[in-house]
Subunit: 141 residues, 2 copies
């Protein structure tokens, strides 16, 4: 089980953005340099974040991206959803042919994965961008 880079980068980049608290647009170039993420890859990620209205773009010179809501209102769940980072634990979907529907013996662990999924989602649901920024300021003191 692992987190992919896309999700990690999205959170890292938004945390970077959040430090400016909606004042100035931040260019992807700056984020790329500070966080060590390829510019092209950032563009892919921000395209998704914009479509899900997590950020707003400001075009032209001195342009960049701004948060579309307050940092406190952006939950990590929202971020992961936007970049298609999913918590996949089991293939027993109702639609798919594979999986455990119908046969009782195949379901031994079905409940478990459901619980795990909720456990993780719960973590992301409780965390927001502001928490991240605060945590950083505190640790710097």
């Amino acid at each position: 089980m692992k987190l992919t880079s896309k999700g990690r980068y999205a959170v890292m980049a938004l945390a970077d953005l959040a430090r400016f608290d909606n004042v100035n647009p931040v260019s992807l170039r700056d984020i790329s340099l500070r966080q060590g993420i390829s510019l092209d890859y950032l563009e892919q990620i921000f395209s998704k974040l914009r479509k899900k209205e997590i950020v707003q773009s400001v075009r032209g010179t001195q342009g960049g991206y701004v948060l579309n809501k307050k940092a406190k209102e952006i939950k990590l769940t929202n971020i992961f959803d936007a970049v298609d980072e999913k918590v996949k634990t089991v293939q027993c979907k109702k639609e798919s042919k594979k999986g455990c529907h119908g046969k009782s013996t195949k379901c031994l662990t079905h409940n478990l994965w459901d619980e795990l999924e909720n456990h993780i989602k719960n973590f992301f649901e409780k965390k927001n961008l502001e928490d991240l920024v605060k945590d950083n300021i505190e640790r710097r003191i």
Copy 2:
């Protein structure tokens, strides 16, 4: 983020095994049939489980595998460890060149991944095989 099949299969197979509560050895063939997992793949997985002393093998006709401890004493953590299923959240290892050591700006989210890792490990640490079997019996009533 996802769980790989190897980890899922390991847990499914052991849950199957646990139902027999250390009495009769269970053949991989049977598990393969009941759980719909390829025999060859099961052998790979059980080879690891045996090395980590989670199961014992019984050779010969009527042979198979038996749990090496009581179901209650086998935590999911142990199982995932045995089959190398890892909770990887971040690459900021102390040894690697990549990562965030040295530069403060790169660490914006470091703490977060640590927390997440602990959150998930905690879940696996609290669950054991007996829980799984019990859960199944209860649901069958």
